[in-house]
């Protein structure tokens, strides 16, 4: 089943790539650089999904004390941090030619950066505890605190300052851009969600094998 998921992901990413370069139109002002959006946006959105899954799995772990839930949280944390890191990197590469800078302390950049360090801390905490049961408990608590902190971070950073273009996909009134952009974006979005699921499935398997080997 994981294998099928892997193949689906590969096909999705390939179709996404073809659509991003072949189907999607060349942006009028930014030129080809804008095509990085088809990677940048899916990465960030998938990382939000990852952190959401992490929070849910953390709650499930605390309620049912099921090691499987903890492994899902652990894997989601790792993939989420990877995706957010890549999202920041692709954003930087996109920002240099269009905004003229690699990095700026704009509201949304800042809140994503905070998310990145927050979940890096989560992985650090996990790595510093030897007892797997305690690591699971503490990580679950941190996962819940971090998830509840996300809206607070967003509000505070938004009020603090707000250069980034407003969200184009999920905003009040729905998507108003051209559908020639929408479809390549949606396909890539789906492909990256599949990639997330595939990575998590693989990682959970490795974590289970590690736990069994240690027991």
């Amino acid at each position: 089943m994981v294998r099928t998921l892997g193949w689906l992901t590969a096909v999705g990413l390939l179709v996404g790539l073809v659509m991003a370069f072949g189907v999607a139109p060349r942006e009028v002002t930014q030129g080809n650089v804008q095509r990085i959006m088809y990677v940048h946006v899916p990465l960030i959105l998938a990382s939000y999904v990852a952190f959401g899954v992490l929070a849910l799995a953390s709650i499930v772990y605390l309620v049912r004390r099921d090691a499987a839930a903890d492994r899902v949280a652990h894997a989601s944390g790792e993939v989420g941090v990877l995706f957010v890191g890549l999202g920041i990197a692709t954003g930087s590469i996109w920002g240099k030619p269009t905004w003229g800078t690699w990095w700026t302390w704009d509201a949304r950049l800042t809140s994503v950066a905070i998310l990145f360090v927050m979940y890096l801390g989560y992985l650090l905490l996990r790595g510093s505890i030897d007892d797997p049961e305690r690591a699971a408990r503490y990580s679950a608590v941190l996962g819940i605190v971090a998830a509840l902190d996300i809206p607070l971070v967003h509000f505070s950073v938004y009020w603090w300052r707000t250069l980034h273009q407003p969200p184009s996909l999920m905003k009040p009134g729905g998507f108003t851009g051209s559908t020639s952009i929408l479809w390549p974006l949606l396909v890539n979005l789906l492909a990256f969600m599949l990639l997330y699921a595939y990575f998590v499935a693989r990682r959970v398997r490795v974590l289970r094998a590690e736990a069994e080997a240690a027991a």
Binding site: I114, V117, L124, I129, R137, A140, V141, V145, W160
Partner: protein
């Protein structure tokens, strides 16, 4: 004993230990004094520049002393082998959290008041009308710091590289509190009324509520073993 009485007992114990030993307090007061030197040396004596960065520097001082103070929350029990005693306390462990939180809050507010007084004297600041508003922001900000700090201190008490991990976990989570307190303090020091920074105060209240409730609910899990 009722839940509130048990919480009070823990707070009372911590404050009594601190009053007699002054272990943390002495070092913290000295540390805050040193911070003033550091700020003076690094920022120079340009008064205008100092006034511009004052809200940030003030909260930097509060946060640095909070990191030191809060990180030690459960070390009293660790160092004197009373950890098991704490764990054996009957009933819901969230009472222990509340007690520790109250103790921490008292200690930090004491140190912060002192830092503020030192700032007023050494940097010759006129707080004037900003004082009541500033006290509200200090109280709310410190509660937010202490609420998460107390929870994380319990988590990092038994962990490798505890001194490093504690700030690394606490600082990102505390970004909303930091931004809100610094921005509110900035407004107040510019002579704005508390109402002008009400959105920041509301954010602090929301953050404090979330932090305290989630900590009370999860503390049992942290102290399990």
């Amino acid at each position: 004993m009722s839940w509130a009485r048990r919480a009070l007992a823990v707070a009372w114990k911590d404050l009594a230990v601190e009053r007699r030993s002054k272990e943390t307090l002495n070092a913290l007061v000295f540390f805050s004094l040193l911070l003033l030197f550091v700020f003076q040396f690094t920022l120079g004596s340009d008064r205008e520049r100092l006034a511009a960065v004052l809200p940030g520097v003030l909260w930097l001082g509060f946060v640095l002393s909070a990191l030191l103070a809060l990180g030690r929350t459960f070390l009293v029990e660790r160092e004197h082998d009373c950890w098991e005693g704490l764990l054996l306390a009957p009933g819901d462990k969230s009472a222990i959290y509340l007690g520790k939180l109250v103790g921490n809050l008292a200690l930090m507010l004491l140190v912060e008041t002192l830092v503020l007084a030192l700032f007023i004297v050494f940097f010759d600041i006129d707080l004037g009308r900003a004082m009541p508003g500033l006290l509200v922001v200090m109280l709310l900000g410190t509660l937010g710091l202490a609420a998460v700090g107390t929870l994380f201190a319990a988590m990092t008490a038994n962990v490798r590289a505890r001194e490093l991990l504690f700030p690394v976990l606490l600082l990102p989570v505390q970004v909303p509190v930091l931004l809100a307190t610094v921005k509110a303090t900035e407004g107040l020091l510019l002579g704005e009324p508390l109402a002008a920074v009400a959105h920041w105060v509301k954010l602090l209240v929301a953050a404090d509520t979330v932090y305290v409730i989630v900590s009370l609910l999860t503390f049992d899990v942290v102290l399990e073993g």
